[in-house]
Symmetry: none
Subunit: 248 residues, 2 copies
Amino acid sequence: MRMWQTSEVVKLTGVSARALRHYDAIGLLEPAEVGRGGIRRYGRAELLRLQQILLFKRLGLRLDVIAEILEGELAEVVALERHAEQLAGERERLDRLAATVDATIRQLEGDQKMTPETWFEGLNDEYEAEARRRWGDAAVDASDTAVKAMTDEERRAIPARFEALHRRLAELKEAGKAADTEEVQTVVADHYAFMASIWGTAPTAEAYKGLGALYTEDPAFTATFDDVATGLAVYLREGMDAYADANL
Amino acid sequence: MRMWQTSEVVKLTGVSARALRHYDAIGLLEPAEVGRGGIRRYGRAELLRLQQILLFKRLGLRLDVIAEILEGELAEVVALERHAEQLAGERERLDRLAATVDATIRQLEGDQKMTPETWFEGLNDEYEAEARRRWGDAAVDASDTAVKAMTDEERRAIPARFEALHRRLAELKEAGKAADTEEVQTVVADHYAFMASIWGTAPTAEAYKGLGALYTEDPAFTATFDDVATGLAVYLREGMDAYADANL
DNA sequence: GTTATCGGCTGACGTTACGTCAGCCGCAAG
DNA sequence: CTTGCGGCTGACGTAACGTCAGCCGATAAC
């Protein structure tokens, strides 16, 4: 029977010699015989099998799955349908990624004031400079005006009100309520209203989500929330995202 | 300054301890200081950096690219735009794959097109009648006998071998080679030999040309070839005609 | 007869971002 | 003093080969 050695198979099929050795190593395609010096010789049957391997490879199937199909352990249709699902999932993931990346690029190229991040809870000096740097003077000044227009009582109560909101949230979190639950959303609504009063204007969806992002991105704030309950920052951000999506 | 050790950072950010050590190992994020026993301690600056890392990670950027961005060696916008391009390419690749996989599944589940799978796994009724009309009862019976006489391996590999031939042709077509070129004729010679093995006899010029005509006249066949490359059916028929004229 | 040259072959590392042990260490509670 | 809890350092595994480095046998040139 006619036999072909590695270099000949390479020319016939276009696969690399290394790939052939790899297929041998993993038992996907073993040569019909191995001569002195370990030389691999492939017969007709092996070439036929190789064609099938290449067919499935072009469909993107993994080598171990191809092996299962060729061994008859897995039906071709089943394997392909499963594969199609995985491809669809992969595609969806890529779509979401691409959308996020594009959005980020637009933010970077666009005007700074369009950047959704906003934060005025830290009214102390330590964060004011950072706030102005990150979100601009106009927004900070607006908030400043709003806060100054408050009564003394109101102003002094700000920390306590935040504290109260955070504790209510922590309780719901402990109880295992999901962040998009109605009860949680009620608290978030209060939080939203409170933020509006501090900002001097009702936050847009983007601005509100940006605030949530900041809670989880700045370790100083995250740590503050964690003093109340571990993971609270993330929990609140989830609730804020849901709130913004549903109401803003 | 407040410091956080591994387990605390894990709770604050959600990244795994292993990941933190990995980032340390590759120099992406080194702890502010390392205590006795090699204990890692992260400061505020490191947590901020970690947040940025996670931000870029969510966008799907590779760690080495993230490092470049954070080191200021690569502009964020540039990196993201490059990344967006890669994502688009990936998506396109996935789409093509998915289309091919879907087409293959449809073929396997009873189909409209004449595919290698259905050509010879016993001529199905619809085309058996057509074949008997074109080539006569004797020819069809001979082919039936020839295919039945094949080993299982050989029979199963028929689709893959057709596929391989079609791809070789498609490549030459892409390269702009005319159908009567020697290179194309070499492939057609292989096609002819393969058909001979399936028909159980070497086709006459007339029979072979008739097959080429079928490829281009029957939309079911044409569509199958078009899945490989547009216009492939016509290209192959031209090659077959030339081959028959020159050699049969 | 010897040598330079082809192939071919066998390791073995590199790739990506960690997951998952195994085994060792320091410190604090029982 | 023994447990036990973290934490740490290797080291292997992952998918499918690409890419050497180093060795071997057969052939062609000298």
